[in-house]
Amino acid sequence: MNPAMNVGAAPVATPWFFYGLAAAAVISGLLVITRRNAVHSALALIITLLSVAGLYLMLYAPFVAGVQIIVYAGGIMVLFLFVIMLVSIERASKERQFNRIWPVGLVASCALLALFLSAFAKGKALLPDRMMQLPESTNTQQIAAMLYGDAGKMGQYTFTFEIASLLLLVAILGAVIMTKKKI
């Protein structure tokens, strides 16, 4: 409750936590794209998502972390698992797993990674070597102020927020119509 209490204490932000979470995220990300069985992939993806939620917490973004857990791990992944169970996967897991152009995809992606890394190496000096201390305890309130506005005036992202809700509505309608028996 007391904002002064938290800032600076930051007991969890030790490097080890970062390396552990990052390793978990990347390794299970690797499992996501290599598993034969889609349920295993989904479980690995859940681990990735939770690790990324942990990274958000380390970045003083608890609200985003909470949203990540609720929406991603609790919602979207359950949807994924649900669909995997609906479509029989026994046959899919016995078939060829990679498409014919997989070498092209792999090379392109590796090139992309090389591009990223070279950009990081070049631009390292440009990145400010600082991590701002964001006030964790008022994070939610600040996000709310930006989304909905503060004390009578419109928030910066109110309009965007409404558009996002419209997008969700369209997605709901689309999903419902798609899954109807007769299209």
């Binding site: 932000a13 990052a22 995220a25 990347v26 990300g29 996501v32 794209i33 889609a38 993806l45 998502l49 990324v52 990274l55 958000y56 380390m58 970045l59 003083y60 973004a61 609200f63 985003v64 949203v67 990540q68 929406v71 991603y72 919602g75 979207i76 949807l79 994924f80 669909v83 995997i84 479509v87 996967i89 797993q97 990679f98 498409n99 997989w102 995809g105 392109a108 992606s109 992309l112 990674l113 990223f116 890394l117 990081f120 990145l127 991590m131 701002m132 201390q133 964001l134 996000i143 992202y157 996002a164 997008l167 969700l168 997605a171 709901i172 689309g174 999903a175 119509i177 798609m178 899954t179």
Partner: protein, 102 residues
Amino acid sequence: MVPITTLHYLVVAAALFVLGTIGVLTRRNVVIVLMSIELILNAVNLNLVAFSRMWGNLHGQIFAIFIVVDAAAEAAVGLGILIAFFRNKETINVDEIDLLKW
């Protein structure tokens, strides 16, 4: 021990992003392709939140939340299409989804 800087997060995000693109480009199973797209979106989110911390404002986090909304919409519609497709063709392989009409 090196203190954790923004660059660390960027590298992790880049790794996740590339894993996602590999998944999208090489896998045949649509469900796993969709999951790989989630990986890509997560990598982007991680970048945004890391930059948000770097600049000390919350715009990045707001963007991250919007991307989560987008991901939810994408998953719902994508899986809806998948189910409709599976009902008609009994397959969930992307390289067999090559007709615009069936």
